[in-house]
Amino acid sequence: MEWLIQLRQIKRQWIYLSLAVLVSIPLFFKIRLPFFVGPQAKGLYEAVKDLPEDKVVLLAMDWGAATKGESMWQAQAIIEHLFKEKKPFVILGYDIQGPQLSEELAEKLAKKYGRNYGEDWFNVGFITGGLPLLLRMAKNFQATFKQDSVKRKPLSTFPVARRIKDINDIGLIIDITGSGTYGDWITIQTTYKVPLAVACTAVITPDLYPFLDSKQLIGMLSGLKGAAEYEALIKGSHRKTTLKMMMSQSMAHLLIIILIVLANIGLYIERRRRRSG
């Protein structure tokens, strides 16, 4: 029975080693487990598919290297879907790194789908100014952003940019975020009734369910699971990779559950011993 009580005192080095080994296993060995897509990811998928021909998608890349493990896969899946469906989009972001990292993703995928910068997408880059800037953008897009961030040319140079005069030309806003930047986009959605979806890290997903319920959000991707769901829906290039990573995440979750159970078994045995002794 003593060994059960010792379960409460596993050294953290063993825990770290277990985590590292368990997370690595699915990367080397194929583990096939069922995977089902949730309604929130389907909502975003349908919104992109049903986007009117004359509208442009606005991708707010409010993520950086720190949340790359989740946000990059989400951004990749969404950009691939937009290229597949031939939906034009504009990239901008509150984070300095997001638009730049997304541009690399877009350029890689553009080669695969034969898409061209300026005709199928353009990048405004890092934006600053918060909600006042977004309100200004909603009224006059061309006057708010003088040039793009990639070629450093006026927006009028790019056919897809010329299509956007104000918020009425935006058919869907997708905020890919690792923090609370969705608040400003919720305000824009409420004011101008533009469809909005959020692809966020798993840790802030619980905060967004009220907005899904009130239909302020038409779809949501939650962390790496959301990215894997979206890749499955669009039959994307990285669906096998994201599924493999989901298996790794499964291992980590299982380890947490097992450790918590073991620690509480040890606690329970110890308490029983104290009461009887």
């Binding site: 596993i10 290297a65 720190a66 100014g129 619980p206 989901m246």
Partner: protein, 264 residues
Amino acid sequence: MRIFHPVKDPTLLTVYIVASLVGSFLVLALMHKFLSMRAKGRFITALTFLAGFFYSLEFFLPAKNGKNFLTPWVEPVGDALAVIGAFAFPLGLISLAVVHWGNIRRRREGWYFSLFLFIAMLAMALSAFLNHYAHLSLAKKIYSCLFDGLYIPLGVAMMSTLAFYIVSAAYRAFRVTNVDAILMMGAAIIVMLGQIPFGMWLTSWLPMQGIVSSLRIENVSNWFMTIVNMSVQRAIGFGLAVGGIAMALRVWFSLERGMQMGGK
């Protein structure tokens, strides 16, 4: 609508920029010299009130075809706020430089970290500027090495250590000692299992349709998130929003302690 018309002549533009800087400096210097602390505080309070008043009024005033008399001013005011917001960068930079230069000058403990900070800042800034404006291939290589090769992976690595910390902290902290804790732990385990393929596999033998399908772990997890969690988050959200409005009003009217000059 525009407050000023764009100036294309570079000489005239330079004159305007220099004149604006000199004029602003003079006005600030005169205000600093001749206004009392109380008067400065009142001036800041008035400016703060006007800035907030503009957006509130523009939103609340009745609009015809979505516009009232303040709507054309949204663009230039937005431009002005973006420019003012950009001043936060050099302000932060100067503050950082002053603190760390002080560390180096006084050889405080860990002063070499401050030296590394300056070296890293200068290396990154110089390579980025040279890459962007001079298009030097060496600058591009250095920038790529520093940004793609160092900065991004370091950011990812920092966040990756969080996984180990979370597992260890969960093991040490989550103790089921009463009924509330049992309920919370049960809900947490169900939600966690509902997110991962292993959890979905556990109940994959249940049918996809029909009333029994609601016992599938992903559906139970979804129920927890969309019903239980959603209602609680909404309640918290309402509380935060009401608190946020109260706080915003206090900031708007400069009622917060320390917002006025002299800390009153």
